[in-house]
């Protein structure tokens, strides 16, 4: 592997990892605070992608489309929380998993009804098209750099919200001792909806950023969600730091294994081994630490 290829793949890996982190934030916050595992989080990713396509087609401007689409995802997410998840707090894991599984069935089919079964393509914004030289001899697509930048900005916003705002203090307190926050008279219902909407916004935004790279199609969020769960298991459930670490590890590992494993074990075996790589990594973490690298919640 040449140095140029290494740098390029490292950038790809970090970008993919940050994308996974945008997904993981919502899953881990919702789990850490509400103790709910939301399988429909992948649907929010998908809805984000579709809403972006629809808004770009309607307005022709990304500057208008992105905020409108994010607002749309937040509304969908809040509705999901109020209508389906709220009655399920305090229920068993099975009920929550099945209900959110039912939601993914609904959303995967609803987008087909609205937009059809064919994958949709959305062009890369004109301003971000093309590539630039990041190192001597390494040309890198501007759009991928922009995604990395946007994801980093999201991470920074999240950091400020969590560490420096009242909402963030409540979120931290809630994931530590939910009952105590409730006992202090905080409107816990509103807090839950806010946390869920925040997670939805990040997931939808990840879907929007991914839209121009892949195509937007039904079920696109589900494999991403499962990989996100792998990140969370590796990083430790319920911890944002763990989610970041797990996402970056999986993002970089996934990218490099796709490039290098076929070279090492041969092309035919390579495809099978590549598919397994992330899960083998998760298995290794499970063998050495049952709770992941940065466990915030045990049990």
């Amino acid at each position: 592997m040449t140095a140029a290829l290494f740098v390029e793949q490292l950038f790809n890996g970090v970008q993919f990892g940050l994308m996974l982190f945008l997904m993981a934030v919502g899953v881990t916050l919702v789990f850490g605070i509400m103790r709910v595992i939301n399988l429909a989080h992948g649907s929010l990713f998908m809805v984000g992608g579709y809403l972006l396509v629809a808004c770009v087609q309607a307005t022709g401007s990304y500057w208008v489309a992105v905020p409108v689409a994010i607002t749309g995802v937040v509304v969908v997410g809040a509705a999901m929380e109020v209508l389906v998840l709220r009655p399920l707090y305090g229920r068993g894991h099975l009920d929550q998993v099945l209900a959110t599984f039912g939601l993914t069935m609904f959303f995967n089919e609803a987008v087909v009804v609205i937009w059809g079964r064919l994958p949709l393509n959305v062009a890369i914004p004109a301003a971000l098209d093309g590539s630039i030289q990041i190192f001597p001899g390494v040309h890198y697509p501007v759009y991928r750099l922009a995604i990395t930048g946007a994801a980093l900005v999201c991470g920074a916003i999240l950091y400020v919200v969590i560490v420096h705002t009242r909402l963030g203090a409540l979120i931290r307190a809630g994931s530590d001792k939910r009952e105590m926050v409730e006992a202090l008279g905080v409107n816990i219902g509103l807090l839950y909806t806010a946390v869920f909407a925040l997670g939805a916004a990040f997931a939808g935004f990840a879907g929007m950023l991914t839209g121009p790279l892949l195509s937007v199609e039904t079920g696109m969020g589900d494999p991403i969600l499962i990989l996100t769960l792998v990140c969370i298991v590796i990083g430790g459930t319920g911890s944002i730091r763990g989610a970041l670490a797990g996402s970056l590890i999986v993002g970089v590992f996934d990218t490099f294994s796709r490039v290098m494993l076929p070279q090492i074990v041969g092309l035919t075996a390579g495809t099978a081994v590549v598919g397994m790589a992330d899960y083998v990594l998760m298995a290794l973490v499970l063998i050495f630490s049952r709770t992941g690298l940065f466990a915030a919640y045990r049990g």
């Binding site: 009920d95 039912g102 939601l103 009804v113 495809t271 998760m282 499970l286």
Partner: protein, 324 residues
């Protein structure tokens, strides 16, 4: 004592299942075959869920491994079901042993995530089998033979499937009431106490996981023969979710309930898809509603109705009544 009401219900159900081919419409026979196969897979899920308290979201992996092993062995020239199906079960058990040994280390929510992830891994492995059609899967040239008799006849294949379902149901119901089953149920209710009396839970959980994998693998072997087509779609996480939905529709922890659940699920799917291609848009919310508003699955409701009409309730009805 005579026959208990529950035994009568079982006999009526069995008679109804046996009578399906009398309809003379091969469509119903094939549909009933499908119900029996999915019922078997859902039952394997119920072993883990209803008795072990383990919410697994990866059972489709073992179903798929059973189907792939069957298809591959058939293509390799092995046609006798008595050789192919046990080998398919063994393959599924091998996967279940490895995946189970790792997954069981995780608890609660993590277990769900980990089984979901390993299920997805198995899906990608199936997808990578380029010699076997990759993403598109492959067709089995013909069904297996059973001790020399071809299973190409749909009615005969249905009766073989039904017989296997009844045998597996019987064996599983013995298993969950055996000493092994008591340990499993005891662990579900209080793992710490079980450990305190000197029984290591891990190996019991793993054994249950492997047994459930074997049952799902047999279901997969039957599925490969039923459809004569095997593809990664059999291993997708949606199929794992389907199995769980079937268990819940029929009542967890009853073994026979999930077979009902499979029937309800498939009938719903069939009826809805007569009206619309987009049946999932209705089924998804139905599943949500079932979880939110209905406490009991169909078999549980039937049992409750039977108990209400039982003239003299025996002591410990749940335990005694479950005996047959």
């Amino acid at each position: 004592m005579g026959l208990s009401r529950r035994t009568i219900v079982h006999l009526v159900l069995l008679a109804a299942a046996l009578a399906v081919p009398l309809s003379n419409d091969i469509y119903y026979t094939r549909f009933a075959t499908q119900i029996a196969i999915y019922g078997m897979a859902a039952m394997s899920c119920d072993l883990l869920l209803g008795y072990g308290g383990m919410v697994t979201f990866g059972q489709a992996a073992f179903f798929g491994v059973g189907a792939y092993a069957t298809g591959m062995l058939t293509l390799a020239g092995f046609h006798d079901a008595l050789i192919v199906w046990p080998l398919a079960m063994l393959a599924a058990m091998g996967f279940a042993l490895v995946i189970g040994a790792l997954s069981i280390r995780a608890q609660g929510f993590q277990f769900i995530m980990v089984t979901l992830a390993f299920g997805q891994m198995t899906y990608y492995i199936a997808q990578a089998l380029r010699d076997y059609g990759g993403d598109n899967g492959f067709t089995m040239p013909r069904r297996n033979t059973f001790a020399g008799v071809t299973l190409a006849n749909h009615v005969l294949f249905y009766y073989v499937t039904l017989a296997l379902l009844v045998i597996v149901l019987f064996l599983c119901s013995r298993l969950v009431r055996s000493e092994f089953g008591m340990v499993i149920r005891g662990r579900r209710d209080n793992e710490r106490r079980l450990a305190a009396i000197g029984i290591p839970p891990y190996r019991y959980k793993l054994a249950l996981f492997v047994i459930a994998g074997a049952v799902a693998g047999l279901g997969g072997a039957l599925m490969a023969n039923h459809a004569r087509f095997v593809s990664p779609a059999l291993l997708s996480f949606q199929v794992s979710g389907q199995f769980l939905a079937m268990v819940i529709l029929g009542s967890a922890g009853t073994l026979i309930g999930p077979v009902f659940g499979a029937a309800i699920y498939l009938v719903f799917q069939q009826v809805l898809s007569d009206y619309t291609d987009h049946w999932m848009i209705f089924f998804g919310p139905l599943l949500v509603a079932r979880v939110m508003f209905v406490k009991e699955g169909v078999w549980g409701m039937i049992l409750a109705a039977l108990r209400a009409h039982e003239p003299t309730p025996a002591p410990l009805p749940a335990e005694e009544g479950a005996a047959e």
